[in-house]
């Protein structure tokens, strides 16, 4: 038991993994084996990058000790800006850069207001949630602009791999996930993110540029949300102004289910991804097993509470076990 708790402390996402395996087994049985069938897996893996990328960004930011509730709106705003730019004749790549620039700007504003005026990021980004959503609808003029057919969306949507199991978006997702994981665990900046979230005073006292670390985290979070939205829009073919509504809460839930602490300093990218996968599995599994789909929200909410309580309890237990010393 002690050893398990020790492992848990170092790798909090393992609890999420256990839950995932259990749920997959349950759904596989209840859906008469369809759940893990090729067609269904294709579906799940095709949709996962979109919520997964947001979860990665939100996880990173939460580890630094801040929240971003505007991700659902940025999810819609980035592709909308890109599409509007393209209807005005801007070519594909510059339009995409413009979209990302919008994300960076929003992340910057989120960070700047939070840090300069010392407001909880929860509030700042809540306001931004409304503002960005409104901007998305306004610039669309009420009608989603058409995406021209000659843009290389295949870069993100076509199926590749053995049995055509994955979309290109999954590969992008994998790359981003690996880079983000490396950033957090293997770079000095990642060390600083964890420190700032874990104990801000200590981080400041040891010379870490706290404000800069948080600003970068805010901006990264927004960029990832925008990237995710862009992928969804390419997949669906229309930049609708209403996509992404409610995703911010799902992203926070995913991060938390994957072991990220609400107070900061604890969490991993893998955990956030596992949380997103778990939510996707539940959504899909409920449809397959013909359970009333309205239980989905209940399931996600229950799981979030359960995960937070369980993680807190496990952490408290693990802390009480002191490491052995010879002194």
């Amino acid at each position: 038991m002690k050893r398990l708790l020790k492992i848990y402390l170092e790798k909090p996402e393992l609890a999420g993994l256990v839950l995932l395996v259990i749920l997959i087994a349950v759904f596989q049985v209840k859906s008469d084996g369809i759940f893990l069938g090729q067609q269904n897996l294709r579906g799940i893996l095709g949709l996962l990058p979109e919520t997964g990328l947001i979860a990665i960004g939100v996880t990173l930011l939460m580890i630094s000790g801040e929240f971003d509730l505007s991700v659902g709106s940025v999810f819609a705003l980035m592709p909308m800006s890109m599409a509007i730019a393209m209807t005005h004749g801007v070519p594909f790549v510059p339009a995409m850069m413009l979209g990302f620039a919008v994300c960076l700007a929003i992340g910057f504003i989120n960070g700047y207001i939070t840090l300069t005026f010392n407001i909880p990021s929860f509030i700042t980004t809540l306001g931004m949630l409304f503002m960005a959503r409104s901007m998305t609808v306004v610039i669309s003029g009420g009608f989603p602009p058409l995406l021209s057919s000659d843009i290389p969306t295949w870069l993100f949507t076509s199926y590749v791999g053995p049995g055509e199991l994955f979309r290109m978006s999954f590969l992008w997702f994998l790359v981003v996930g690996i880079l983000a994981g490396l950033l957090l665990a293997r770079t000095n900046f990642g060390n600083w993110i964890t420190a700032v979230g874990g104990f801000q005073q200590a981080a400041a006292a040891t010379g870490i540029p706290v404000k800069r670390v948080k600003m970068v985290s805010f901006m990264l979070c927004s960029v990832l949300a925008g990237f995710a939205g862009m992928i969804q829009v390419f997949r669906l073919g229309s930049p609708l102004p209403s996509i992404g509504e409610g995703l911010e809460l799902q992203a926070v839930a995913a991060a938390v289910i994957g072991g990220t602490a609400l107070t900061g300093g604890i969490g991993t990218i893998l955990g956030g991804v596992l949380g997103a996968l778990l939510i996707r599995v539940i959504d899909n599994g409920l449809v397959l097993t013909q359970v009333d789909a309205n239980w989905f929200k209940f399931a996600v909410g229950f799981l979030t509470i359960f995960a937070v309580v369980a993680n807190a309890w496990l952490r408290a237990r693990a802390k009480r076990i002191k490491v052995e010393i010879s002194s």
Binding site: G43, G46, L236, I243
Partner: protein
């Protein structure tokens, strides 16, 4: 013409069903996906038609609602998950011209019978691989509604009309609004001596939002002659008018769909005309067409479920049927 086909098809289906009823080898698997959440009462009537038809042919049926009202990406995810169960037939609304094209094409390739219900691709069969459309033709319906309300226009004075587009960007709402506006343009041309004008706003897809937004507009423009909603949410506007002490009929109102809330307001005199699209039929007929396609190979055919206008003198009889979910 289409109505005749529909009655023949219905008779044939009923006949076949009773003949072969108890002998159904493998029950047909039919899935219905659409863009609405469980809080939209219109769809309860559709579900009743769907469930009744399925009971008659003893099929294994599932209707999947979305979490967020009007969410295209959730509907697409549901559709993909449902298709993994390898159903015999898929019935779906197509509120976006692009988002479902690929998934439906894949379904057809797998031999699934696909029928569009309630909302069609704006380019019909040219825009999507669905085999038939069963539902209301929106533009003519909007036009008819315009005509029905115009009968109540005042003899003299300026005519100021507000059109509430409930879901900007979605086919059904845009086209119904367009139908109304087409009528207003015709009316203007026919009455060059009158001052005719109209406004369009994004009125929302729930009672509270529509009440808020249209209420605000009416405060700013108290001389509005008539309000057209592209759904049934004018029911909440009626309440707002009542609260303000405006007598019924002072501001004319017209809408779509015969849900109990709006029928009540018609009885109270606030709503002068409603367009019925016969939701029960939209749930019932596609099932029968799938049955016929799978048993005798009859190609599915379009059915216009009508743009019949319901006026206050018919309310009582209609209300009874509406509360039973039959209209």
């Amino acid at each position: 013409m289409t109505n005749k086909i529909s009655s023949i098809a219905l008779a044939a289906a009923m006949g076949l069903a009773t003949l072969t009823g108890a002998q159904a080898a493998d029950p047909l698997k039919i899935v219905f996906t659409h863009h609405s959440s469980a809080s939209n009462t219109f769809w309860q009537a559709v579900k009743k038609g769907f469930d009744d038809a399925c009971a008659r042919i003893q099929a294994d049926c599932q209707m999947v609602f979305t979490q967020t009202e009007g969410s295209v990406e959730q509907q697409q995810a549901n559709m993909q998950a449902a298709l993994a169960r390898k159903p015999d037939g898929l019935i779906t609304s197509i509120v976006d011209d692009n988002a479902f094209d690929q998934t439906i094409a894949d379904a057809r390739a797998q031999g699934v019978v696909v029928i569009a219900a309630n909302v069609d691709d704006s380019q019909g069969a040219a825009g999507n691989a669905r085999q038939a459309f069963i539902g209301q033709n929106f533009i003519p319906a909007g036009h008819s509604l315009g005509a029905a309300i115009a009968k109540h226009f005042p003899e003299s004075g300026p005519i100021k009309v507000l059109v509430g587009v409930s879901a900007p960007g979605q086919n059904w709402s845009e086209q119904r609004a367009q139908g109304v506006i087409n009528f207003m343009e015709d009316y203007k041309k026919a009455h060059p001596d009158r001052d005719v004008s109209w406004d369009k706003i994004d009125s929302g897809t729930d009672l509270a939002t529509t009440a808020d937004r249209v209420g605000a507009y009416l405060s700013a423009h108290p001389d509005t002659t008539a309000y057209f909603d592209t759904g049934f949410w004018c029911a909440s506007v009626a309440r707002v008018l009542k609260d303000r002490g405006v007598e019924p009929g002072k501001v004319l109102m017209g809408g779509f769909d015969l849900v109990p809330e709006v029928l009540q307001q018609m009885k109270a005199g606030y709503v002068q005309a409603l367009v019925d699209q016969q939701p029960y039929e939209q749930g019932f007929m596609p099932v029968m067409e799938i049955y016929l396609a799978k048993t005798v190979g009859l190609a599915p055919a379009d059915i216009n479920t009508g743009n019949a206008i319901v006026t206050p003198d018919q309310v009582d009889s209609v209300m009874k049927l509406s509360s039973e979910g039959l209209r």
